[in-house]
């Protein structure tokens, strides 16, 4: 089934978006690309904040991996868009992600030490879980272009590895 109800449920729960006209399952390929690029950049921003605020070497290692991997995905995504002669298109979900991201960064900025480390790790786990659900259940089944779909499938493997890594980090910081 192309338009999965599961997708609406995921977004409804995790991004608290009204499932009316703003349905992620209705996004076009270039809008989906924009959401992915936005999600990547947000995680890179969280990671830079972690490098600036945390003194925990494990948190630093994780944050550097997030920057390295998400930059690699973004670079590949931009190269593919250029090859296809397409441009990522802003949309309600990208805007929602950015809005939520700003609130999270503001919250992080007020934390320090072990409290910051735990909040960062927990957010990384929740964020990757949410995005992975969205990519697997909504985006990949609805992407039309085969090359874009293949890139998302490869990206999903990376983000699933990040989710496992974040889970380990959450446990180690408890």
């Amino acid at each position: 089934m192309r338009k999965l109800l599961a997708g609406i449920a995921v977004i409804g729960m995790l991004f608290a978006t009204q499932a009316t006209a703003n349905d992620p399952a209705e996004l076009s390929d270039v809008e989906i690309a924009h959401v992915a690029y936005t999600a990547d950049n947000l995680d890179i921003r969280y990671a830079h904040l972690a490098l600036a605020k945390s003194k925990n070497p494990e948190v630093h290692k994780f944050a550097k991996t997030m920057i390295r991997d998400h930059e690699a995905v973004n670079e590949q995504a931009l190269a593919l868009l250029a090859k296809l002669g397409a441009e990522a298109k802003d949309n309600f979900l990208s805007q929602k992600l950015n809005l939520d991201g700003e609130a999270i960064i503001e919250k992080f900025s007020a934390l320090s030490g072990a409290e910051f480390d735990r909040a960062y790790a927990e957010n990384e786990l929740a964020y990757h879980k949410a995005v992975n659900g969205l990519v697997a259940d909504v985006f990949i089944p609805n992407i039309d272009n085969a090359e874009v779909k293949a890139l998302f499938e490869e990206g999903l493997k990376i983000f699933q590895a990040h989710e496992s890594h974040a889970e380990m980090m959450v446990k180690s910081l408890q």
Partner: protein, 116 residues
């Protein structure tokens, strides 16, 4: 003991394999001929995960993932360095080298070298 890091890029590996092939062609039947073992880094796994080698053999890791990876000895004694997608790096197997390794960027990725 530190392993020897040999080659940095694919084209050099290719050149090394070509030279190796020539050597093999004039030394057919030599039991002590070092082998080159390829390890693919694919979907966040080392394939094969367990590799049987002999002293003097060469192990070459090639990253096929979009995410950068490394093959790094568990005790830090040898390291391929960062391998971007498509990059290869080779290490010579030496006596006493650390045989367990992992990806320094994704520590759940683990592999072992088994000395025959």
């Amino acid at each position: 003991m530190r392993a020897k890091k040999l080659i940095r890029r694919d084209f050099l590996v290719g050149a090394a394999i070509s030279v190796g092939a020539l050597t093999i062609s004039v030394k057919v039947g030599s039991a002590a001929e070092p082998k080159t073992h390829e390890v693919a880094i694919r979907s966040f796994k080392f394939e094969p995960q367990h590799l049987q080698v002999e002293i003097g053999d060469i192990i070459s890791w090639k990253n096929e993932d979009l995410a950068p990876h490394t093959a790094t000895a568990s005790d830090g004694s040898w390291d391929t360095g960062e391998l971007a997608k498509g990059d290869s790096q080779s290490i010579e197997v030496v006596k006493g080298m650390e045989i367990s390794y992992f990806c320094a960027f994704h520590p759940h990725m683990k592999g072992t070298i088994v000395l025959k």
